[in-house]
Structure formats: structure tokens, C-alpha cells
């Protein structure tokens, strides 16, 4: 009963969050001093086609009617058509979102697999050289602009050394030779048994995933270090050490067990953040992801696309948080 009411509360809060998100985005787009009809038609359209477009967009109706209509069609699963790409927004999202998920997942894996041990190691050697090096690495990752780092990585590893493939998701010559099944280009290449396409896609993913992964690493390692330091100061750790337990056991079995929980939230937030926050990396690496899609649409006041994209990201945010919540319950009996 308690669990059911908890789930209901989460769901209601998720729906309200989504509605709030829709309303906020909708209103922001309306107060921006840009004329959406003009944004679509360009500067030279005749007065009649201008009026016709305003009507088609429903801009002649009161604001609450426009919003009500939009919410009603979203409820039917219809995000409308993008003015920029002419495709149904749902179809566009189906194209661009897998690219972002591919990138964000690769980056988060790198960030978490390297960041957690690094944070742990730094905390265990607090004040020593390794700690300083880890902290400096983290601080650098925090401070350096992502587009600069992306460009430098391209210059070094792609242009100069030629170790990895350059911008885009796959070599230009292989464009469209991979059949679209899941939208995840590496999976689709693997499914079609095309080794060359798979290698090309992997080689294109490595650099942007490393660059974004470095930022995740910076965040995750710093948070891990700080959580660990907090745990290592607890009495039960002193007791464990006093009992003569090995340092590795103290760290991994005792301290890390308690750090896992807040780390789940940290990694989930880092992942969710990358889903919409990698637009600069996407630009530098010509990665056709959802961040670029929403940014382009926003600059063109392509509202269906902006609202659709924002909603999907919002849903992903909520879903990632729900998963984190679920993991919490699995790992921590007190939360059940």
C-alpha cells in the first residue's frame, strides 16, 4: 500500500513536472522578441503569405488556446510537424536522439569507469601527490571550455596524428549504406554485418565521447572524492582499521558501500545532463544530436520541434531519476 502510494506520488509529480516544463518552454518562446511566421517565411514573403502562415501556426488565436491545443495534440502523441525539417517532430527525434544517447552513454561510461576509482584513490591518498594530480585533472576538466577542448582534441588526434576519424557519425562515403533499424549507428552496422561501417562509426565516436567523458570524469571523480572523504572520517572506518582490516577492504567494502548511493544520483545527473547539454560538443564534432536539433529549432522559433525535443529530454530526465530512485531502493534497505 505504502509502495503504491509512493509510486502514485512519483507519477503525479512527473506529470506535473512535464506540464510545467511545457508551459515554461511555451511561454519563453512566446516572449522572445522574434516573429515565428517571419522566422519560417524569411524576410521577403508577401503580406498575404505572411498572414496565411500566422493563421496556419494558430498565432491569431489567444495564447491559452494555442497552449491548450498543443497539450491536447501531445496527449494524442502528436508533436506536430517541424517547420525546419518538414518531418513529423517524432520522426526527427527518432533520428537525432539515438545519436545523442550513443554519445552520452559512451561519455558516461568513460566518466564513471575512470572517475569513480580516481576519486576513491585520491580520497585514500588525501594530500599526497596522486590526490593533487587527480584534483588538478578534475579542476581542469571543470574549468576548460568544452568547445576548446573538443577542437584541440580534433587538431591533435584527428588532424595531426590521424588516430581517430573526424567529425560526423560515420565516414561520408558510407553515409546511407547502413540500414536504419534502431537509429544507433553502431548497433545498426553490427546488425547488418557491415564491419567497415561499424569500425568507422566506432572511430567517429571515440573522440567526442572521450572529450565529453572527460567532463563527466571531472565531475564524478570530484564528487566521489568528497563522498569518500566524508565516509573515511566516520567512526566505523576508524573501528574497521583498528580491527586490523586491510586498507583495500576498508575502502571498497566498507566506505564505498555507503558512497554508492549518492554516487548513483551523481552519475544519473551527469548522464541526464549530457543528454541535453552536449550541444557544443555536437557542434564541434558535427554530431547530429538532439542538442543541435533543439538549438537550431529554437533559433528558428520552430516551436513544435523545440517543445517536442524539450519534452523528450524532460521525460528522459524523469526516467533517469526514477531509475536512480529504484536503484536506491534495491541497494539501501532503509529506502524500501
Amino acid at each position: 500500500m505504502k509502495a503504491a502510494s509512493h509510486t502514485a506520488r512519483i507519477l503525479i509529480s512527473a506529470v506535473l513536472t512535464l506540464l510545467g516544463l511545457l508551459l515554461a518552454t511555451f511561454l519563453i518562446a512566446r516572449v522572445v522578441p522574434i516573429d515565428p511566421a517571419l522566422a519560417i517565411l524569411g524576410d521577403r514573403a508577401s503580406a498575404s503569405s505572411y498572414e496565411q502562415t500566422r493563421k496556419e501556426l494558430g498565432l491569431d488565436r489567444p495564447l491559452y488556446v494555442q497552449f491548450g491545443r498543443y497539450v491536447a495534440s501531445v496527449a494524442r502523441g502528436d508533436f506536430g510537424r517541424s517547420a525546419l525539417t518538414k518531418n513529423p517532430v517524432a520522426q526527427d527525434i527518432g533520428r537525432f536522439f539515438p545519436a545523442t544517447i550513443e554519445l552520452a552513454t559512451g561519455a558516461t561510461l568513460i566518466g564513471a569507469l575512470l572517475g569513480v576509482p580516481a576519486g576513491l584513490y585520491a580520497a585514500a591518498r588525501r594530500g599526497k601527490v596522486t590526490d593533487h594530480v587527480m584534483r588538478a585533472l578534475g579542476l581542469f576538466g571543470y574549468s576548460v571550455p568544452v568547445f576548446w577542448l573538443g577542437m584541440m582534441a580534433l587538431v591533435l588526434f584527428y588532424a595531426d596524428l590521424g588516430w581517430v576519424a573526424g567529425p560526423g557519425r560515420i565516414d561520408t562515403a558510407l553515409e546511407d549504406f547502413v540500414p536504419h533499424v534502431t537509429g544507433f549507428i553502431m548497433i545498426d552496422a553490427a546488425l547488418s554485418g557491415d564491419g567497415e561501417a561499424f569500425r568507422s562509426a566506432l572511430s567517429h565516436l571515440v573522440l567526442p565521447a572521450l572529450v565529453l567523458g572527460y567532463f563527466s570524469f571531472a565531475y564524478i571523480s570530484r564528487m566521489t572524492r568528497s563522498f569518500m572523504l566524508q565516509e573515511l572520517g566516520q567512526e566505523y572506518i576508524v573501528a574497521a582499521r583498528a580491527k586490523g582490516l586491510g586498507e583495500r577492504r576498508v575502502l571498497w567494502v566498507h566506505a564505498f558501500r555507503n558512497v554508492r548511493l549518492p554516487l548513483i544520483t551523481v552519475i544519473a545527473l551527469a548522464y541526464a545532463g549530457l543528454l541535453e547539454g552536449s550541444v557544443l560538443t555536437e557542434t564541434v564534432f558535427s554530431w547530429p544530436g538532439i542538442g543541435q536539433y533543439i538549438t537550431n529549432s529554437l533559433l528558428s522559433i520552430d516551436m513544435n520541434a523545440v517543445l517536442g525535443g524539450t519534452l523528450v529530454i524532460g521525460v528522459m530526465f524523469i526516467a533517469v531519476n526514477l531509475i536512480a530512485d529504484l536503484l536506491y531502493r534495491v541497494l539501501d534497505p532503509r529506502a524500501r
Binding site: V32, P33, I34, D35, L38, A39, I40, L41, G42, D43, R44, A45, S46, A47, S48, S49, Q52, S82, A83, L84, T85, K86, N87, D92, R95, F96, F147, M151, L154, V155, Y158, A159, G162, G166, P167, G168, D171, T172, A173, E175, D176, T283, V284, F285, S286, P288, Q292, Y293, N296, L299, S300, I301
Partner: protein, 498 residues
């Protein structure tokens, strides 16, 4: 080819009006007549092999070639050409303004554009116009010939196939459009049904690469053969690389300042003239724009009929101060200037600000997103607007109309030309533009535009600054991109790789 192509919103010739979309259409569709890239004021045959105008100056007749075919194998006939022109007018999307300019409207187009036989197209205009003007309008994107049968077979409701053609192709150009993935890439293949010489390169893929530095890296690495959006510093750096060469072409985009006549200071002719002396044209051209622009003080682009290259204004703060003192503004005044927050406009704005300050004119720069600045400009809420203007078709009337014609200066006017936006209405100049529009002798017509441009330089509340030069960097083993004055004349058919 690496290029910024995220401005494409449609590939239907009746709808596409963005630069990259026009470039695609120029390569995959044919029109009745084409312009000569080497001499923009000359015409050449495309689907029509000959054309003439009757003595009344209203009836234009085009005889079409009989060897042009669509992909389906069906011949391209006058029925297709008539349908295409009527469709563009009836759909009334942005490019329709070009056909509206020659007098074709939703009400008259069905009767005005007809096909007396399978190879003849006849256009009867409601009033007599300069033939060169009509011809140049017909070289534009909206006059592209689409396959009537194919397009109508995809009609939904009354859309005349619009929704389908936005993302598909039904033309007779040297290339066929294989695919367009918005914000990602488009691909061309040589059109096997093309009646003319086969393109030198069989397949061309143009990829969206937003960041110019990334374009440069891809070019240097050899992952692309062309990089189209490099800035002047990148071009200067690449000039030292022996494996990179450049295709150049002057474009018709003019950078200018619009001076709103609603502003009490800018409404004074002496102030307008003073500002023209407070611009350090050469400094901006050399330090900021480099190879990507050239100083240009006339409103007609180089190469257009009657275009002049006079440059009467130089940076002369003393002369400007003298002019300002004449109207009691020796101490200067404060003013705002709207600029897009995209390179190089903020840099140009800052240099203009420094130059104006030498005459005592204190400029506050107001940066904004391109569409935001444009919305403000179209509402006449600016003081000074720094922006670009491109003609709709390669005829001098396009810019003459834009910069001069403003018959209704009220705030609710439906004709929002730059002249209206700057609240400037000069009946004498408007009459000169109207006269040039109907002059049937090309030489006389050219002379009329020359005079209009010189009068404009003196009287009009604009400071004309630069004309764009497109520099496309390419691998040394590839060459042959034609860069036209407007995007629809950027042609790929000559691109060859050794």
C-alpha cells in the same frame, strides 16, 4: 563538401527561399532560361532554346527543347513549365514574390501563363515591363520546372504536391537529388536523363558542418574536398598550404547601414552624409573581412545591369564634423545600432562605433540574435541597423525596389522594403525606379540605373559598405565549383577530381 546547410527548410522550388536551399534547387532543376555565371547581365538557354517578346512588350514566348526528360522518362513539355509557374504563384510561398514582381498573381496566372502547343510557353503580362527584367525574374528558383504528373500524383488536399516536394525531387537539372537529411547532409547523383553535358563528378555529398574550424580540419585532412564557410583568418592560414586552392566568386549580398528617418538626428541629410564620412571602409575590409568582402558603396551588386563601382566616400572625420556643425550638432549625439551577434557583425559594429566616435557620434551597440534584430528592424524600432541585403533575382530592379520603393510610409503598410523600414520615401527617386522598370532598351535602362545609384549615394539614408566575396577552399586535386552572384547560381556540374 563541408558546408553550413542547416538553413534549408524546403527543397520545393515554390517554397525554398534560403541560401542553401536555393543552391540545391539551382543544381537539380532547370528553368526556361538561365543566366551566364561569367556575365550576370547575360542570359543563356536552359529548357527554352529561344525566346522573344512581342511589340506590345507584354507577351513573352518561349520555345522549349524537345530532348529534356524527367526521371520517369516523360519529356519535359510546356505543360510542365506552365504548371510550375502557375503552381509557384498559387501556393504563394516566399519565392512567389519574384513572379508577383512581373505582374503574375493568383487571380491572373491561369490566363496569363499558357501552353499554345507542347513546346511553346506564352506569358501575357498585365502591363508592359522591361524585357530584361522579366527574363531575369524567370531565372530565379521559383521558375524551376517540375514534373507536373509526378508532383500531382503526390498531392494531399489542395497542396499541389507541396508536402511531398519539400523533401523530394522532380526536375531535369544536371544532378538528381538522392537524399536530403535535414541538418545532416544531402547527396546528388549525376542525372542520367539530363539533356546537356554530363557533370564531371558522378556523386556529390554535401555535409552539414556548422563549425568553420572543423570544416578547415576536415579539408586539410582530405575528408572533404571543399570547405565553404571559412572565415578570413582560416583562409589566410590555408593560403600557405600547397595542397589547398580556392574558388572565388563575388556574391550579391550587400552589407549596409539603414538609418531610420524617424530618428530626429538621422532625419537630417547632413547627418546622413556625415556618417558616410565616419566609416573607415578600408580598415574594416582589411582587418575584419579580408578576402571575404570588398568595399562597395553602390546598392547594385557588381555585374548587374547598370551596376557602378564608384566610391565617393572615404574616412574623413574633419569633413564629417563640419557637416554636423552645420546642423548644430558639433558636440555630436547619442544613437543605438542593432547588430547580429554573429561574426563578423559585432567586429564591424565595434569598428564603426570607434569611427563614429571621432565625429562625436556616440554609438551604443545593441547585439541580438539574427531573427530578433530583423523583427525589430521590420517594426521600425531601430535607430541604425547593420545588416545584409540580397537581391531576389539578378536584375537591378530587385535592389532598386528594396532600397527605394516605399509608396506607403504609414506604420501599417504591407510593403516592408528596407526603404519603408527606414521610413524613407522619396517620390522623385521612386519615379526614376518606376521608369527604369519599363524601359525596353537595355542600354538606356542601364544608364537609368547608373543615375539612380549616383543620386542614391547622395540622398538616401543608407551607408552602403561592402559586397560579399565567397571563397570556397578546396583540395588542389579538385576544382570547378562555379560561385554565382546569388546562391541558385552556385553550380556543381563543373566540379572535377583528378
Amino acid at each position: 563538401m563541408a558546408k553550413q546547410i542547416d538553413d534549408i527548410v524546403s527543397l520545393d522550388p515554390a517554397e525554398a527561399y534560403e541560401l542553401s536551399g536555393a543552391e540545391v534547387i539551382g543544381n537539380v532543376y532547370s528553368r526556361l532560361i538561365d543566366y551566364d555565371a561569367a556575365a550576370p547581365s547575360k542570359l543563356k538557354p536552359d529548357l527554352a532554346i529561344s525566346w522573344k517578346v512581342d511589340a506590345d512588350g507584354k507577351t513573352f514566348t518561349f520555345v522549349m527543347r524537345d530532348n529534356a526528360r524527367f526521371e520517369t522518362g516523360k519529356p519535359a513539355t510546356s505543360a510542365d513549365a506552365v504548371f510550375s509557374l502557375q503552381r509557384a504563384v498559387m501556393l504563394d510561398k516566399a519565392p512567389a514574390v519574384i513572379l508577383n514582381a512581373i505582374g503574375l498573381t493568383k487571380d491572373n496566372v491561369a490566363a496569363a501563363v499558357t501552353a499554345p502547343d507542347a513546346h511553346t510557353v506564352q506569358i501575357k503580362l498585365p502591363k508592359s515591363l522591361a524585357p530584361s527584367f522579366v527574363y531575369f525574374c524567370l531565372t530565379g528558383v521559383s521558375a524551376s520546372v517540375v514534373d507536373k504528373e509526378t508532383v500531382l500524383s503526390h498531392q494531399q488536399g489542395n497542396d499541389m504536391g507541396l508536402q511531398w516536394l519539400e523533401t523530394h525531387w522532380a526536375g531535369t537539372g544536371p544532378y538528381r537529388l538522392v537524399i536530403w537529411r535535414p541538418n545532416e547532409y544531402y547527396a546528388f547523383e549525376a542525372n542520367s536523363k539530363y539533356w546537356g553535358p554530363k557533370p564531371a563528378t558522378r556523386r556529390i555529398i554535401v555535409r552539414q558542418v556548422k563549425d568553420a574550424s572543423t570544416q578547415r580540419l576536415m579539408l586539410e585532412r582530405g575528408d572533404v574536398d571543399y570547405a565553404r564557410n571559412l572565415d578570413k583568418d582560416q583562409l589566410a592560414a590555408l593560403a600557405k598550404n600547397p595542397s589547398i586552392k580556392f574558388d572565388k566568386g563575388i556574391k550579391s549580398a550587400i552589407t549596409y547601414l539603414g538609418l531610420n528617418q524617424k530618428n530626429q538626428y538621422l532625419a537630417k541629410p547632413e547627418v546622413v552624409e556625415a556618417l558616410k564620412y565616419l566609416v573607415d571602409y578600408d580598415a574594416i575590409a582589411n582587418a575584419i573581412l579580408g578576402a571575404t568582402a570588398t568595399v562597395h558603396q553602390s546598392f547594385e551588386p557588381v555585374g548587374f545591369l547598370g551596376a557602378i563601382s564608384d566610391q565617393p566616400y572615404k574616412f574623413d572625420p574633419a569633413k564629417a564634423k563640419e557637416l554636423l556643425a552645420k546642423v548644430g550638432l558639433a558636440g555630436g549625439f547619442n544613437i543605438t545600432m542593432d547588430v547580429r551577434n554573429a561574426t563578423p557583425e559585432p567586429e564591424i559594429g565595434q569598428t564603426l562605433q570607434a569611427g563614429f566616435a571621432q565625429g562625436g557620434v556616440k554609438v551604443e551597440l545593441v547585439p541580438g540574435d539574427g531573427k530578433q534584430v530583423l523583427t525589430k528592424y521590420r517594426a521600425r524600432h531601430h535607430d541604425i541597423f547593420l545588416g545584409e541585403w540580397e537581391p531576389d533575382y539578378p536584375d537591378p530592379h530587385s535592389n532598386a525596389e528594396g532600397f527605394i520603393v516605399n509608396p506607403d510610409n504609414r506604420d501599417n503598410s504591407t510593403m516592408k522594403t528596407p526603404a519603408w523600414r527606414n521610413a524613407w520615401s522619396d517620390p522623385a527617386m521612386m519615379k526614376a525606379v518606376a521608369d527604369a522598370l519599363v524601359e525596353r532598351d537595355d542600354k538606356k535602362r542601364a544608364a537609368m540605373y547608373e543615375k539612380i545609384q549616383r543620386d542614391f549615394m547622395v540622398h538616401a539614408p543608407y551607408v552602403m559598405l561592402f559586397e560579399q566575396v565567397e571563397v570556397a577552399a578546396h583540395r588542389a586535386n579538385v576544382h570547378g565549383l562555379t560561385i554565382g552572384v546569388t546562391s541558385e547560381f552556385d553550380r556543381y556540374a563543373g566540379i572535377a577530381k583528378q
